[in-house]
């Protein structure tokens, strides 16, 4: 039988254990600014489309300002904005614009989502190299992704395979932009396969003969040996066609901050939007701002 003394001590032991667990969860946030140039930590979370270029920006920025640490993480545009609203990061990368409900959530918390466009991007539609089709009309594209066209034989004579739609997860900004620009905000087909990143889309389409998917322009440019990009309404996806506006599926790549950029964000955005940052954009096969 447990005596009173033993119960009290047991309870104290439990409380101690609980406090230990709680204490482990606390974090310290460093503040930016300093006497000799920028210093401190900048946390960036969000779009997988922006992940690689963001990491390159971070590297170059850190080299320029050694007292600064920039950490970049993926997770998707939706995750990035959510993390920003939770005040767990400074900048949210998003390959789409913030949604109405995200703006509402921000004002409910007394925050404001401020958008800085950092680059432009095209969304390439890709198919397996075995597929003879070279281009699609927007309406045909829509029919494929909505499951109305189940067979390639009509669009690719002689290619008798089922259409396998490769989709991104709904947190993806690429998903959101594609849904808006190509599907008029309508739903994708129910049986579409879902993968978690631009790279996974390329990988899956490359190994699925009847596959069709979409990915950021940069990912397509780096994988031209693995997948085939389609011309949409007669225009092929390339940096040139996105810049001159002829490619129909193109979008802004954005960085969101709580209100106007402040602290470390100011030199960071100066860098990103400046000559060096935009040079990196071009190197990564995105479209620099004019």
């Amino acid at each position: 039988m447990l005596g009173r003394r033993e119960l009290t001590r047991g309870a104290l032991a439990t409380v101690a254990a609980a406090l230990l667990v709680a204490g482990a969860g606390c974090r310290k946030r460093q503040r930016p600014g300093g006497v000799e140039g920028p210093s401190g930590k900048l946390t960036i979370v969000g779009s997988t489309t922006l992940l690689e270029v963001s990491q390159k920006w971070a590297e170059a920025f850190e080299k320029k300002h050694p007292a600064v640490r920039v950490s970049v993480a993926g997770g998707g545009s939706g995750v990035g904005i959510k993390t920003l609203l939770n005040e767990s990061c400074d900048v949210a990368n998003a390959s789409r614009k913030a949604k109405e409900k995200e703006h509402r959530a921000a004002s409910a918390k007394g925050m404001r989502l401020h958008c800085t466009v950092v680059a432009k991007d095209g969304i390439a539609v890709i198919v397996n190299p075995a597929n003879p089709v070279t281009g699609l009309e927007m309406s045909e594209l829509k029919g494929l992704f909505q499951g109305h066209t189940k067979d390639w034989s009509r669009l690719s004579p002689g290619f008798d395979r089922d259409v396998v739609v490769i989709n991104r997860e709904s947190t993806s900004g690429t998903y959101g932009s594609f849904q808006e620009l190509a599907l008029d905000k309508e739903e994708f087909m129910k049986g579409a396969k879902e993968v978690q990143s631009n790279a996974a889309v390329v990988q899956t389409v490359a190994t699925t003969p009847g596959g069709i998917g979409y990915c950021g322009l940069g990912y397509y440019e780096n994988a031209k040996d693995k997948v085939k990009g389609l011309a949409i309404d007669g225009v092929a996806p390339s940096v040139k066609t996105v810049v001159d506006g002829s490619y129909p599926i193109s979008r802004d790549l954005n960085c969101y901050t709580n209100g106007m950029p402040d602290g470390l964000e100011i030199p960071y955005f100066d860098f990103v939007l400046g000559r060096e940052g935009q040079k990196i954009v071009r190197e990564m096969d995105f479209v620099p701002l004019q």
Binding site: G10, A13, G75, T171, K193, Q196
Partner: protein
């Protein structure tokens, strides 16, 4: 000795902390899942506060918005013409209003169309004989300036989870579906397939290890199996995506290698070490006298193994299988990467499925905190927890029935 007391308190503290944490998890899940039972998509039909009409029925609202009731007198009010206001575009909650009250039809042609809910509320607050339909949130925010005469809502609550379509994020808000049946069947399909694949390998492997293998072989095989058990699931998922998926596609001549079967194979791979080691313990704990008696009666070694030893260890083996299944049901990363994540209700191993675990993992980032999607995900969590607990309880009952533990 004080040392004994100290150990006792540490153990007590740890045990109570564990129970506390499990209880907290349950409470947390239930709390976040509970809003799913509440009414959703609430729309109020509002009139100016000076309008004496108190309440209207759904049929009256239908007639109102279709233009068939043109004067307030027909609703028991004064002799004044009805001023209809509606949305230019029906999104969100209004879609439900359109279905339930308007039976899918559009409002009368002469209704004035405004572009926002705020504009509608303001207009009703200013015009004495106006009527509009606005989300309940806006009606409540407007306070006393408008009066709600009818509230229409989706009151299906938890029943929405019993649907066969899981579509929590839609291009235009208002069309979401929260049916979790495809997710439950997805999890069950993958679990059963994985178990069916894992059990033969696990049990025969255990039999081999305990009855047939020489001590040298055992020395090598056991660590190898422990190693397999230690491979992170995301690594296995990557292997599945890059190697196994295209392979299965070729072998079975499929459209795509992202199927329930691919996921099940990865999970079986993860479950085999668990099943094997626990079965092996069960087989080894069969009293030697059973074996000796059987051999003494003239049975061969193989006959002894399959007809005496294994049946004697059956309850332990069953428990091993249940534990393996429990592990499989909760597996998230590997299935997220290889099953195709399509919420389709199917029994075919060659189609893509979405498991409950993968659904939670991939959508928790997108769900607005406190919203319907968020609560739906927690409901899935509750179902998952109940299923896992159920499996464990079943395993224990089987064990106790056979007198073990």
């Amino acid at each position: 000795m004080w040392k004994d007391h100290a150990v006792k308190y540490v153990l007590m503290g740890a045990a109570s902390a564990s129970i506390l944490i499990v209880a907290l998890i349950f409470v947390f899940l239930a709390k976040e899942a509970a809003p799913m039972a509440a009414a959703d998509r609430q729309v109020a039909v509002v009139v100016n506060r000076r309008n004496p009409v108190g309440e209207v029925s759904i049929e009256q609202a239908r007639s109102l918005f279709e233009g068939r009731i043109a004067n307030w007198r027909e609703l028991g009010g004064p002799d004044r013409p009805v001023r209809l206001l509606t949305r230019a575009e029906f999104t969100g909650e209004h879609l439900h209003f359109k279905e339930e009250v308007m039976e899918g039809r559009r409002p009368a042609e002469d209704a004035e169309r405004l572009s926002s809910d705020y504009a509608l509320v303001d207009a009703v607050a200013e015009e004495e004989w106006a009527v509009a339909h606005v989300p309940l949130f806006h009606a409540e925010q407007a306070g006393d300036s408008v009066k709600s005469v009818l509230i229409v809502a989706d009151r299906r609550g938890l029943l929405r989870l019993l649907g066969t379509e899981w579509l929590p994020v839609t291009g235009v808000p208002g069309r979401e579906k929260y049916g979790i049946l495809p997710l439950v069947t997805g999890s069950i399909l993958v679990t059963i397939l994985a178990t069916v694949i894992a059990v033969p390998f696990g049990v025969t492997g255990a039999v081999y290890l305990s009855e047939v293998a020489s001590p040298r072989e055992r020395e090598i095989l056991k660590p190898v199996i422990e190693l397999i058990a230690g491979i992170p699931s995301v690594v296995l998922g990557f292997f599945g995506l890059v190697v196994l998926s295209p392979l299965l596609q070729k072998v079975f001549n499929l459209n795509s290698g992202l199927t329930a079967l691919t996921g099940a194979l990865m999970l079986a791979f993860m479950a085999v070490p668990t099943i094997m080691s626990i079965s092996e313990d069960a087989i080894r704990s069969v009293p030697r006298s059973y074996r000796q008696a059987s051999l003494a009666l003239g049975a061969s070694r193989l006959e002894t193994v399959w007809k005496v030893t294994v049946p004697a260890a059956l309850s332990g083996i069953l428990a091993a299988v249940m534990l393996g299944m429990g592990r499989v049901v909760g597996e998230t990363m590997a299935v997220l990467m290889v099953t195709g994540n399509a919420p389709v209700l199917t029994a075919s191993p060659f189609e893509s499925v979405l498991t409950m675990t993968a659904a939670i993992a991939k959508e928790m980032g997108d769900a607005v905190h406190g919203g319907t999607h968020y609560s739906a995900l927690f409901c899935i969590g509750v179902v998952l927890l109940v299923m896992t607990f159920g499996l464990n309880v079943l395993a224990r009952r089987i064990l106790s029935k056979h007198g073990m533990r």
